[in-house]
């Protein structure tokens, strides 16, 4: 090893976990929320993390680029400077290893937040999420609790192709022992992430990269330090009598746009933001369907075994089935790995037109097209 190599690569690398002096000085948070009321989802998440790190010293963040890089998507911006390298831990590229490490730390009384650069990478760690985190409290007869949060962007972004675009809501939603939430707007981001961090069980928080940059007005209540959104409760974003749309994450926004357009034709849609994939608020969906008699579910993930499939089951497993005036329509991503080329990528993701078409079909009572033949 040459002297030059040593000089270049050794200087500046002084932040080993144990060697850093205790207690970095506390700077004021870089993006103050106290004056702002129009807040991007990214900053809403950042503020939730900041407040919970301050509130409880057992909370820490573990993941790639969360520290010095300020977060791959800047969600953890400023936290490294404020809380130090031992609470905001930059890891090597070792998903399985650091996820299991976070789970093991959670077994013993810490409250780690394990960030995945995207949930696609979490597939490398899925054994630790499912078998160590989700199942342990049950397997050990209740002796050990696992207060861990797994968070990161989920679903498609733009032109990032097949291995960076999958939605994992249905996979994690299937697992008993996990809670799964999917925020839509900045209010959801704050309330759901804070609830997830304070929950004593493993919670998967499926964020959305496109939504990180979208801003929403927030009330004082939402900006307050103890603002929490209960896990397991959906939100009715817009009331209506003619049809029910159920969605989560980014596509809630699409549904609201479709609802506005249809309103100009005299069709009033009820838009339900699931907020939680598991436990899913079946009650709110069923009550709404009993009112409107028509249902459209909207998700970005693959059609087979998806969130829409589960919602369909919860309808025919309840008396809401007798209230349907038409078969339910599912809007999903296409049954293909996400393509790269812009035009077919657009086909593979649900669009405003897809959702509008589904609404019209359900209003006409049309039989839905079999998903395997779609796209």
């Amino acid at each position: 090893m040459s002297a030059k190599y040593l000089k270049i690569f050794r200087t500046g690398l002084k932040n080993f976990l144990l060697n850093e002096p205790r207690g970095s000085c506390r700077h004021f948070h870089l993006t103050s929320l106290s004056q702002a009321s129009n807040v991007m989802c990214r900053d809403a998440l950042n503020s939730a993390l900041d407040e919970e790190l301050e509130r409880d010293e057992r909370v820490c963040i573990i993941g790639e680029e969360v520290g010095q890089y300020q977060g791959a998507y800047k969600v953890t911006r400023g936290l490294y400077e404020k809380y130090g390298s031992r609470r905001i831990v930059d890891t090597p590229i070792s998903e399985m290893g650091f996820t299991g490490l976070a789970v093991g730390a959670a077994f013993n009384g810490l409250r780690p937040i394990c960030e995945f650069m995207t949930f696609n990478f979490a597939m490398q760690a899925i054994d630790q999420i499912i078998n160590s985190a989700a199942k342990t409290h049950y397997m050990c007869g209740g002796q050990i609790k696992v207060p861990i949060v797994f968070r990161g962007p989920n679903g498609a972004a733009a032109a990032v192709a097949a291995q960076h675009s999958q939605c994992y809501a249905a996979w994690y939603g299937a697992v008993p022992g996990l809670k799964v939430v999917a925020p839509y707007d900045a209010e959801d981001c704050r309330g759901l992430l804070k609830s997830a961090i304070r929950d004593d069980n493993p919670v998967v928080v499926l964020e959305n990269e496109i939504m990180y940059g979208k801003a929403f007005d927030l009330s004082d209540e939402v900006l307050s330090k103890d603002f929490l959104i209960p896990i397991g409760k959906a939100k009715i974003m817009r009331e209506g009598n003619h049809l029910t749309m159920v969605s989560f994450s980014k596509l809630v926004g699409f549904c609201l746009q479709v609802a506005d357009k249809l309103a100009s034709e005299g069709i009033e849609c009820e838009v339900i933001n699931l907020r939680s994939i598991r436990p899913m608020d079946r009650g709110t969906i069923i009550r709404s369907v009993k009112k409107t008699h028509r249902l459209v579910t909207v998700e970005e993930g693959f059609p087979f075994f998806g969130v829409g499939s589960e919602i369909a089951a919860s309808i025919f497993e309840s008396d809401a089935f007798d209230y349907l005036d038409a078969p339910m329509q599912r809007v999903t991503g296409a049954d293909v790995p996400m393509p790269y080329a812009e035009n077919i990528e657009a086909l593979a993701k649900p669009s405003i037109e897809d959702i509008t078409k589904a609404c019209r079909m359900v209003l006409e009572g049309a039989i839905p097209k079999e998903k395997a033949k779609a796209a």
């Binding site: 010293e57 399985m96 490490l101 630790q128 049950y138």
Partner: protein, 336 residues
């Protein structure tokens, strides 16, 4: 750097310690023998992986720990659990699937957990427990340095087999343990077989302790059938970890006298090989040592053995008499 040890000193353990070590090894042996009997009587079921023959490693390492230290094991976890202090009654009841088991009958043989004794499982997947053990070490450093909640630094022991040392998680965790100087000891129980896969056919580098070199971790090889050697090395490694100097990898050369699990026909290992190792039974070795150094009298040994056998009998009776979980409690323990 730790040197490969040779035991000659008889000042290594006291008479009292000899009794503790002997009782623990004998307990492990009789417990596993009893499991085999119970399994063939249909009292326990599923996957059961017995530890017979490897007792020197479990006792030799775990009996040098403090109660606040952590042990994380794999599916061959019964004897690790006993050494750590989980009562044989609770363990047997767990294996019988009873409500009084240490995991309330929800876990079974491969998922032994005890919050009270800092025993973190019990994992079915190979290498799955390595990051968990590392997480315990991370938590301990965090508790000491950031939360200032503890004075002594607890040590985390991670038990794995030879097969696990070819898994990605092993390497990821060696790297992080070394990088962050976490207080962990990786104990590789190299019994040379991963079900039917011989280590020679699976590992490009046969000497597992050398794999630690790539991560700047001291690696040492030890005769896993000689408890004195195991004790000496483990005390050094524990002191190292507790003083903040970081991880150690101990490769204990050992052998399982039984098949991989009670369902394994164990046809690939030759009779000659098995006999070679059975002749090096660690409990017989230790008894010889005890007698040569007059550490425990013959009467005392008999007393210890009788006590252990009684404890096991009581454990079986307790397990048989205990109730199964209530049917209405299927979904209990899903969430805290």
């Amino acid at each position: 750097m730790l040197q490969k040890s040779t035991i000659t000193s008889n000042a290594l353990i006291t008479n009292e310690e000899a009794k503790i070590f002997y009782e623990d090894m004998f307990l492990g042996r009789i417990f596993e023998d009893t499991c085999a009997k119970m399994y063939y009587q249909g009292k326990m079921f599923g996957f059961v992986h017995l530890y017979t023959g490897q007792e020197a490693v479990s006792t030799g390492i775990i009996k040098n720990l403090k109660p606040y230290d952590y042990v994380c094991s794999n599916y061959r976890d019964h004897v690790h659990a006993l050494s750590k202090g989980i009562p044989p009654k609770e363990l047997m009841a767990e294996l019988f699937g009873k409500e009084t088991g240490c995991s309330k009958g929800r876990g079974g043989s491969m998922h032994i957990f005890s919050s009270k004794y800092n025993f973190l499982g019990g994992f079915a997947f190979i290498a799955e427990g390595i990051p968990i053990a590392l997480g315990a070490a991370f938590r301990n450093i965090y508790q000491k340095q950031i939360l200032h909640k503890i004075d002594d630094l607890p040590v985390s022991i991670c038990f794995i087999g030879d097969g696990a040392t070819n898994n990605g998680q092993f390497f990821e965790c060696l790297n992080m343990a070394s990088l962050w100087k976490l207080p962990i000891i990786f104990v590789v129980e190299n019994n040379q077989w991963a079900i039917g896969m011989a280590n020679q056919r699976a590992s490009s580098v046969q000497e597992i302790y050398k794999k630690a070199d790539a991560f700047n971790i001291p690696g040492v090889e030890v005769d896993g059938m000689n408890i004195l050697e195991v004790i000496k090395i483990s005390r050094e490694a524990i002191a190292r970890a507790r003083s903040g100097q970081g991880p150690t990898l101990i490769e204990a050369l050992t052998y399982r006298f039984r098949g991989h699990s009670l369902a394994d026909p164990d046809e690939l290992r030759s009779i000659e090989e098995k006999n070679f190792w059975i002749a090096r039974d660690p409990i017989i070795n230790f008894v010889n040592y005890i007698k040569n150094h007059n550490l425990i009298s013959d009467d005392e040994i008999k007393k210890i053995e009788k006590k252990v056998k009684l404890r096991i009998e009581e454990a079986v009776k307790f397990a048989i008499d205990s109730p199964e979980p209530n049917l209405h409690d299927l979904s209990k323990y899903l969430f805290y």
